[in-house]
Symmetry: C2
Amino acid sequence: MKRSERLVSMTRYFLENPKEHTSLPYFSDQYDAAKSSISEDLTIIDRVIRQEGAGWLQTLPGASGGVSFQPSMAQERGGRFIADLCKTLADPARLLPGGYLYMSDILGDPKMVNQIGHILASAFSDREIDVVMTVATKGIPLAYAVAAVLNVPVVIVRRDAKVTEGSSVSINYVSGSPRKIQTMVLPKRSLHADANVCIIDDFMKAGGTINGMISLIGEFNANVQAIGVLAEADDEEEERVVQHYTSLIKISNVDLKQRTIDVRPGHYN
Amino acid sequence: MKRSERLVSMTRYFLENPKEHTSLPYFSDQYDAAKSSISEDLTIIDRVIRQEGAGWLQTLPGASGGVSFQPSMAQERGGRFIADLCKTLADPARLLPGGYLYMSDILGDPKMVNQIGHILASAFSDREIDVVMTVATKGIPLAYAVAAVLNVPVVIVRRDAKVTEGSSVSINYVSGSPRKIQTMVLPKRSLHADANVCIIDDFMKAGGTINGMISLIGEFNANVQAIGVLAEADDEEEERVVQHYTSLIKISNVDLKQRTIDVRPGHYN
């Protein structure tokens, strides 16, 4: 295979296998090419994806060495995306009863969801994460988008136990205004002790639901490593119970009578 | 930009924008390259993705002409994936009460889900599809995987109306054994009349749930264009109510006492 063809094939390989460690001999065999040629290919691919703010190739030397694609959306690209999103969401026609915001069109667009997933995953790229957790239903696509970038599985917490998942652990938690006691269930075999968990959800007000997931993770003796939400909103009636988290946008000054709203970039660095 | 770098960048562009029509002048501008060079690049990219059974570049001539990446998993690659999946799922330890099969590990793995989505989307590549529909919860990741390949949005049918989605249309349907009357809800603004819909779900027995979605689509005066499920299982008590569908695997001869099961490739062409 010629270099030009190899570059197309390898680029495809890296994009479809993020965070996967591959040895150089694998590529030499696959493309019947010298190790030095493969190294030059890797330099070219690395240069382009860095330039485009999409991540980089990480090369580990030595016998167990190899290369992996570390996807990461550049600060600047992420910032532009968030600014555009704020403009889209600031439309007062999106206001729903209870101070919620209509976001189903955004969350229903796979390309938007994948971009949001990339930005959140990039914010957590320095943390060790074994699994992404979310609660049914709206957070699910975002959780998969983050997990695809981090190359880890997803576990979905439910409001009720399903027959198709075997025995489970359930907890009660308080959420919503007015405050309500709710139940959250996770199948026993879906999370190991000591697992490093990244919690993802679409929307956070006081944070009761996310706090519920934190308690549930505690029941499994697993660790919360990161919390990411698409949007956070102030809740006037309750203080936020979750402290360390990443949000892409922050909704405030919701006035249902005047139909006004403030949408700004959230806690994202 | 040199050809080698351009090939990396363009490959990334096509993979991230499937089914999106892009004009050649866009690439000429973007990379400051002659149209003839861009054409040669496209020939190389097309050749590699065809060879690898991942799809092809479709070029439309003329003033409004351009190029789009048509993802399609080659029959052979899809067949190998399905054969492996059958082996994994044929484990009797997966049997659950009611003749269901534990598949949460498969459905929790973003890479598996994306592969399944590619195969289903490839089966529907010749049909006009505007939107992918699924019902909460388990079908959601598959629906997004299919929708990402088809470059269309997803709508999620729920069992109960949510405050964050505005007014909705609801129907009753019969599903499960014993047969039960259930409710299905879809927000009004999530589906247009005449929309061409692809229904996706994880599991089908008699097909009551999918039949419910078909009725709901009728209520919106939209059209069912395709139905795809990961797994179908025989239901001894009921005849299947859905006729034309694609399934990757078929589960039969489930014997909960002997703990035996047959898992074979489904209705996939």
